[in-house]
């Protein structure tokens, strides 16, 4: 073969294009993947974040495709996952973890912080730090990552693999789903016949610690996880199809600690627990449980003597497990009770509980209550622990058992040297403690700390008057001792053992609030103007309450009156003069009267406190003062209602 210039020139082109036609043009012509559930169009912010992501070359260490040989990285990537991507950033080197399914594994803030200080969050990491990115840039990248992969597709609901697709709940027993609320009473027999008792037992032994007895993903261990466990009461779980349930329960959930239960539960057991979760948490409706009476095996008397030690042990369990629904004061007003059907009982009226004997409590604590969220605690606690719990309920709440004699000052427990030496660290903010107090403490101790909270009045002994206690110049009241009391509770009272529920930071914040608000001379309360500077945070500068009315309910000052009386009047007084009963003993002084139109001329000519200002302050509180932000306690509607009522109290006019 004689190689001429023409042969080399044209021959080269022919060979080249022959191969290119097969290896490049043909695939592009015939390979048209359709979008999958994982793919989604990028918002402007995500697109900006994606550009920043690849401009900084993140894709040179982080791949974005999962191979079938990869272990525990998520489903093998499909072509349609990249439907919206331009340019493609699959990556070729995997120095860091694959990011295909990183979305929602961690919070956006975590992503930002990790980008800036990688080794603080992931000690083995060799990622460079991206401190040079501005906050908006880092936020954009975090937004991109946060929406990447199948966790983001939770909204789009990726389909289960073939093995699980289309599998439905096997029918067991006669009644599985009753949609008629007027259906006849459904007690233990129907509950058991539907296989739900088996599910309840498995739930208590396998699911409870993370998903919680309220099914909201806030179990005792769930709170420590970065990826929070599923809250069954919200979508997608509320309406999730059976095959999704069975898939997730069987195989676990990528990127979370949800285990693959197929390793330890039979198919039957998995379906049982799924049925239980669906019926009791995901789609509950009120039924008449008609439980019947304790079975013969439970017909027993409390074998334990009523001692402070037993009460204390019961309280420990109560604080850890029960208070979230039943409330730390036993009135069934716990923070997780929303969505529980039927609602937890109110123990505050001894008359209602007189007929109840030990066995009634013990049976329900042990076996749970059919068709309710009440777990079968026999799976978790020993008989002795359950009896201690019964002792606690009967002495403190229903008060149908007589409790031991009160010890002097009701708090004669030993404070350990470590607790005594605890001091509030520098970073602790007053506002964090204040909000904590509002959520956990105020309903018994009162918003003004006078011990006259709306829930605690029936308790014996009554909740402490913190103003008096802390103001009395007892030498033993220090940050350390206050911390010890918050942590360990007070013996022989209903004061919870908060160490079982709140972490140390939260308790220390509480201590700071108590000290600054109720301990003379050291407080932040009263130092700042009670009105702030009159500035309203921008998001709340709106007068069109109409949109709230349309969405939720009619806003009316009349509806706000009751709210005002429960929450505001104790300090601000009925007329807003700052002469509420609770405020009298406040070391920081009572709040100043609400300014009338004439008082506000220097800030807002011709206007009293206007509605947006009142709303914003009621909702978020005033920094540096005792004015709580009521957002955790009240609904938006109630905040609007009470704001309009406050406006009327100050002489303003709402509506019209």
């Amino acid at each position: 073969m004689k190689m001429t210039f023409r042969i080399v020139f044209w021959g080269g082109l022919i060979v080249f294009f022959a191969v290119v036609a097969v290896a490049v043009f043909t695939p592009v012509a015939v390979w048209r993947p359709t979008p999958t559930d994982v793919s989604h169009p990028y918002t402007a912010q995500e697109a900006a974040g994606r550009t920043l992501f690849y401009s900084n070359g993140c894709n040179y260490c982080h791949t974005q495709y999962v191979r079938d040989v990869d272990n525990a990285m998520g489903p093998v990537s499909e072509a349609g996952n990249y439907y919206y991507d331009n340019p493609m950033i699959l990556g070729s080197e995997r120095t860091g973890p694959d990011l295909s399914y990183v979305g929602r594994k961690r919070s956006m803030q975590w992503e930002i912080d990790h980008m800036r200080w990688p080794r603080q969050y992931s000690p083995l990491s060799i990622m460079p730090d991206f401190t040079f990115l501005s906050t908006p840039q880092a936020t954009d990248i975090a937004a991109y990552l946060f929406n990447l992969g199948d966790r983001s597709a939770a909204e789009f609901m990726i389909t289960p693999p073939a093995l699980y697709a289309s599998r439905t709940l096997p029918v067991i027993g006669s009644v599985v789903k009753t949609t008629d609320p007027n259906a006849p009473a459904q007690g233990w027999p129907t509950f058991k016949a539907a296989g739900l008792y088996d599910g309840k037992l498995i739930y208590a032994s396998h699911c409870l610690t993370c998903h919680g007895c309220a099914g909201n993903g806030l179990g005792t261990y769930g709170g420590t996880l970065i990826v929070t466990p599923a809250n069954f009461k919200v979508d997608p779980f509320r309406t999730m199809p059976d095959d999704q349930w069975f898939w997730h329960v069987s195989e676990g959930v990528q990127g979370s600690v949800m285990p693959p239960w197929k390793e330890s539960l039979t198919v039957q057991e998995r379906w049982d627990v799924i049925r239980f979760v669906q019926q009791v948490y995901a789609a509950p409706f009120e039924r008449d449980p008609n439980e019947g009476s304790p079975t013969p095996a439970y017909q027993k008397k409390n074998p334990l003597p009523i001692t402070i030690a037993n009460i204390d042990a019961g309280k420990r369990i109560w604080t850890r497990e029960c208070a979230v629904c039943h409330g730390d004061e036993g009135k069934g007003q716990g923070v997780y009770r929303q969505g529980i059907e039927p609602v937890p009982p109110n123990f505050d009226n001894p008359a209602n509980y007189d007929p109840y004997i030990d066995a009634d409590y013990f049976w329900r604590v042990s076996e749970g209550v059919p068709w309710t969220a009440m777990p079968t605690w026999k799976k978790v606690y020993t008989a002795q622990q359950r009896w201690q719990l019964v002792t606690y309920i009967r002495t403190m709440f229903t008060q149908t058992d007589k409790k031991p004699a009160q010890l002097p000052e009701a708090e004669s427990f030993a404070i350990t040297p470590t607790e005594r030496s605890m001091t509030v660290p520098k970073g602790t903010t007053y506002e964090a403690g204040r909000q904590q107090f509002l959520i956990q403490c105020a309903h018994c101790h009162g918003l003004a700390g006078d011990g006259k909270g709306w829930d605690g009045t029936y308790l014996n002994p009554a909740p402490a008057n913190l103003q008096k206690k802390l103001a009395s110049s007892q030498p033993d009241i220090t940050e350390g001792t206050t911390f010890a009391k918050v942590t360990n509770g007070i013996d022989n009272t209903a004061m919870p053992i908060w160490g079982e529920f709140l972490n140390a930071d939260m308790r220390l914040a509480d201590v700071k609030y108590l000290k600054d608000s109720f301990n003379i001379g050291t407080g932040a309360a009263g130092k700042t103007s009670h009105y702030g500077n009159g500035a309203v945070p921008l998001p709340y500068v709106r007068t069109d309450t109409g949109i709230f009315e349309a969405e939720i309910a009619t806003i009316s000052p009349d509806a706000g009156k009751a709210v005002y009386e429960q929450y505001c009047a104790t300090c601000h007084g009925e007329t807003g003069a700052g002469d509420g009963a609770g405020a009298k003993g406040l070391p920081g002084g009572a709040p100043a009267p609400f300014p009338g139109p004439h008082l506000f001329t220097n800030l807002k000519p011709s206007a009293p406190m206007n509605l947006p200002y009142i709303f914003a302050v009621t909702r978020s509180g005033i920094p540096g003062t005792m004015m709580y932000g009521f957002q955790p306690l009240l609904t938006e509607t109630d905040i609007w209602n009470v704001s309009t009522y406050t406006l009327q109290v100050t002489g303003g006019k709402f509506g019209g």
Partner: protein, 476 residues
């Protein structure tokens, strides 16, 4: 250097710029290697952050250094093999200027975060346009020189150079999706097919074909021996064109692209063994009886090193493209190790051979220091061995840990640290070696040692004694 019209000025200008780029590019690489071990090394400096610097490093060594040096070598070789001057020395120098300025701006742009982030196609669209303009100017210049040649025979080197300058602009246009600014990318997974078709053929149809031309030129010239076999050259040439063009998808063996395409890519990759064997034996048999020239010729030493590296890296590549092997090596440091074996030990060796060959001849002088060039070789080979081992072992540890042990990616990192440190040590030696090279090259031009024929010292020939003499008898 200042004249745009002096013979060979475009060639030498390309090489001199490239020599400087080599030092810059490998220094970037050294910083990258350090960042693997000390991630806070460049704390808070945006343009030294790994992701950006890696792209800048790749583009610097690939385009600014290797391509510049390679085109420089061509512009010297082509006139020699055609028997006439370069078609236009001015056009050649315009190419030099445009090439280096465009890349300077492109690389600074990458360091500032302006990138398309497609591997090997990172340069933004307008730099692509400038690069394309240079490729076309260069192709025109070379093709015109060849088509108007005096020497009737078309040498093997010219086959390769012709097809390279014709095919690469087409490849660059398709691979960079240049009809689709500003991202220079298709939407969806098909873009990866374009990306890796281009990405691997930057090696296959640009550096391989372009640098084999240099080896095909230097080896016969420096040994004074014609190429062993025309037939082997033919097999290697057409084999490279046929097999290399379709290998790109072997980068995507686990990605969601059509299965048949992956099979095509594996077959093409493994088929590469054919042209590689042909080339290997062709040079090996040309070198038969000529190995002593390695001691006298610096360019030959580097060219043969490049040849050997090419053989090793090609076999490694064909092996790596097999699904079973790829499963273990994909995503690991084994792959950049392979890339460095190709572009550093094969590419840089051959380009250095070209530079050491061209520069003294173009200026009619001696190389500034042969001892320095040999010392450089020691640094180079020892440095590369340490450097490559670092990649290789780290990659195998990663692959086995992930696939066989199922360990998460980050838990393997601490175990790689020693091998990453080995890379720094090798890298320091390599950078030192390249500084010596750049110094030697520039000093050659500055000093211009006059060319002297080495004195042939004839040693005294011992008198041959007859057996009788040896026996002590008289010679009658």
């Amino acid at each position: 250097m200042l004249s745009f019209r002096r013979d060979n000025s475009a060639s030498t200008n390309f090489i001199l710029w490239a020599a400087i780029w080599l030092v810059i590019g490998t220094l970037m690489g050294l910083v990258l290697a350090i960042e693997f071990v000390f991630p806070d090394f460049a704390h808070g400096i945006p343009w030294l952050v790994f992701g950006r610097l890696r792209q800048a490093h790749v583009n610097t060594v690939l385009f600014a250094w290797l391509s510049g040096a390679m085109m420089g070598a061509w512009l010297y070789i082509v006139p020699r093999l055609t028997g006439r001057k370069l078609y236009s020395e001015v056009l050649g120098n315009v190419s030099v200027l445009a090439w280096n300025v465009a890349l300077l701006l492109g690389i600074i742009g990458i360091l500032m975060g302006h990138t398309q982030s497609r591997e090997y196609a990172e340069l933004v669209w307008w730099v692509d346009v400038a690069v394309m303009a240079v490729l076309l100017m260069n192709a025109f210049n070379i093709l015109m020189t060849i088509s108007k040649r005096v020497e009737p025979k078309l040498y093997v080197s010219l086959w390769y150079i012709t097809s390279t300058v014709v095919l690469f602009p087409i490849l660059y246009f398709i691979g960079n999706v240049m009809w689709n600014p500003p991202t220079g990318s298709l939407t969806g997974v098909n873009d990866t097919i374009f990306n890796w078709f281009y990405g691997h053929n930057v090696l296959g149809l640009w550096f391989t074909t372009g640098l084999l031309a240099v080896i095909y030129y230097i080896v016969p010239k420096e040994t004074g021996t014609p190429l062993y076999s025309m037939w082997m050259s033919l097999i290697a040439f057409w084999g490279v064109l046929f097999f290399y063009t379709g290998v790109g998808a072997h980068h995507l063996l686990w990605a969601p692209i059509p299965y048949w395409l992956k099979t095509v890519a594996v077959a093409e990759s493994f088929g590469m063994i054919i042209p590689v064997l042909a080339f290997m034996f062709n040079i090996l048999l040309t070198m038969r009886g000529n190995w002593s020239h390695l001691r006298s010729s610096v360019p030959l030493l580097y060219a043969i090193t490049g040849w050997a590296a090419y053989i090793v890296v090609s076999f490694q590549g064909s092996n790596e493209a097999l699904r079973g092997v790829n499963e273990l090596t994909h995503f690991t440091q084994y792959v950049p190790g392979h890339a460095h074996l190709a572009l550093l030990f094969f590419g840089a060796s051959t380009c250095i051979a070209g530079a050491y060959y061209v520069i003294p001849r173009a200026f009619g002088c001696m190389l500034y220091s042969r001892r320095l060039a040999r010392a450089q070789y020691a640094f180079y080979v020892i440095g590369f061995a340490a450097f490559f081992l670092g990649f290789l072992i780290a990659g195998l540890v990663q692959g086995t840990s992930w696939v066989h042990l199922g360990l998460p990616v980050w838990t393997v990192l601490p175990g790689l640290r020693a091998f990453m440190a080995l890379r720094i040590m090798g890298g320091v030696l390599l950078v030192t070696s390249f500084v010596m090279f750049a110094y030697n090259t520039i000093a050659t031009i500055v000093v211009k040692k006059p060319f002297v024929q080495p004195d042939i010292v004839l040693s005294t020939v011992p008198t041959v004694k007859s057996p009788a003499e040896l026996a002590g008898g008289d010679v009658a």
